[in-house]
Symmetry: C2
Subunit: 329 residues, 2 copies
Amino acid sequence: MRDGFPEIDDVIDAARRIAGHAVVTPLLRSDALDGIAGGQLLIKAEPLQRTGSFKFRGAFNRISRLSDAEIKSGVVAWSSGNHAQGVAAAAALVGSPATIVMPSDAPTPKVENTSALGAKIVSYDRYAESREQIGTAIAKEQGATIVRPYDDPWIIAGQGTVGLESAAQAAALGTVPNQALVPCGGGGLIAGCALALKDHLPEIAVHPVEPAGFDDTTRSLACGARQANDPDARSICDALLAPEPGELTFAMNRERLSPGLVVSDAEAETAMRLAFRHLKIVAEPGGAVALAAALSGRISCADKTTLIVISGGNVAPQQFEHALDSDVP
Amino acid sequence: MRDGFPEIDDVIDAARRIAGHAVVTPLLRSDALDGIAGGQLLIKAEPLQRTGSFKFRGAFNRISRLSDAEIKSGVVAWSSGNHAQGVAAAAALVGSPATIVMPSDAPTPKVENTSALGAKIVSYDRYAESREQIGTAIAKEQGATIVRPYDDPWIIAGQGTVGLESAAQAAALGTVPNQALVPCGGGGLIAGCALALKDHLPEIAVHPVEPAGFDDTTRSLACGARQANDPDARSICDALLAPEPGELTFAMNRERLSPGLVVSDAEAETAMRLAFRHLKIVAEPGGAVALAAALSGRISCADKTTLIVISGGNVAPQQFEHALDSDVP
């Protein structure tokens, strides 16, 4: 850790800390998907992570470092569902009461699973209220610790274990990824992954992938300063709807990331369907955007090895069925 | 190998042979599923295997041992789809032409995937014709090698690597499974798994799980001799519709297996839905029967650690959607 920024040693330390609690998710391959993308894909399957997304990694890395007094006073987080479940599971493991501020339109399974993990849920209107303000007020009132979704060096270091594992798994397969495609909301996952991947593979190009209408990181990287999204934008990729890049995450990402890629909701659904068919995993819309970028030709994968992160699989049956019924590209 | 029966060294040798070609599939856990089953479940996720089921393991172990002349003359197999894809993929890897005899009502993705792997497909009527007779005639005509779905010691040894990996993964988690539940059609997967598991864990009880109407192994174990299924029986578990236990597999299974369990198609669908929700993997009906047995209380999992094999995930979208719409137990 230096000046509040995580370093590679923090990612390695996070990997040690989560070992035995988090799943070492597999790096999957599919000849059929390679055929569609026109090059070799290595697919990191985070839907298989505890709580169904990578978010448990950062949450456990953060919460397991709290003091006994802090654990007793509880934790507060805001999230549309994946960070919520990660925080709820990590808090339950260390015995800390958790309160989660969730948008009223969060997918039902995400709300139910968070509640089943023992957390208290507080609802808010995603398009009219500020989740930060609500969460901060609750934390102040209860003396609880805020566990931020991405603008926290321990969270970023925890999410970076996705990159660390992927680099080791690719090496075990005897392959060297030339590029990585990573779903990007607030930018915590890709900040940690780029830190870990570029330490092992200095030449790798790490591209954020965002849903159309929420391309804040893509635009921010292009102009060098944080840009916000249009408040009227909508997308089915509920995990990636942060209003703008994080302060800490963007300071890291502007140093390391290659240009951003943007996919449509329909392309995300096609990727979900192809992951169902060829990988046998359940991807949620936001979780599938990096795969979508490769399969829809938003970036060339020809003559390259492309690492792709599928970041989560918490999706309601109805939404999944809609994706299964989407057309073949 | 002794008197045509595989031994534990053959399973260990198969594991070496498939390394780098087959996926070391993860052993998954879910607090939610443990809650429903009332005990700890360790779930071996073979849908993530190459070709979407465990069948690649046995097929590659068998086909990679063929002589150059045999490889050139090609291989013939009969299968509703999972063995078909396993054989097609293994044959393609060693450069051998493959002909697969598939029932005309096999799920479309299984037929398409087998064809995409380069195999020639020959259709037959599952309820009126003998696949063995058709396959044997083709093999004779072409001088090709028959790759049997289960009654072959190399196939059984290959499938046994599922048990070998599971035992090692359970040990790495610091747990000792008391019982194992394994889907059973012709009995090759469970014959290999019981061989491997009982070598590592002599006390483990290994139960076959079958769909209602296709409980031939359950009844055969109970009376000590091979019993056939009613030819008029039907089930959505297309991977498990063998007419009777294999000769070699039953000779092995009668020595090692605990009593069989039988689940309904509806229970298999509920297990598919719960695997979607809590494990984020795609299970096909036949692949989900062992999980179904645990979740529907066909066997007590209380105060025990239960190893469960989900054997495959090759299912058409429409059938998967039907399962997602099934009721909560």
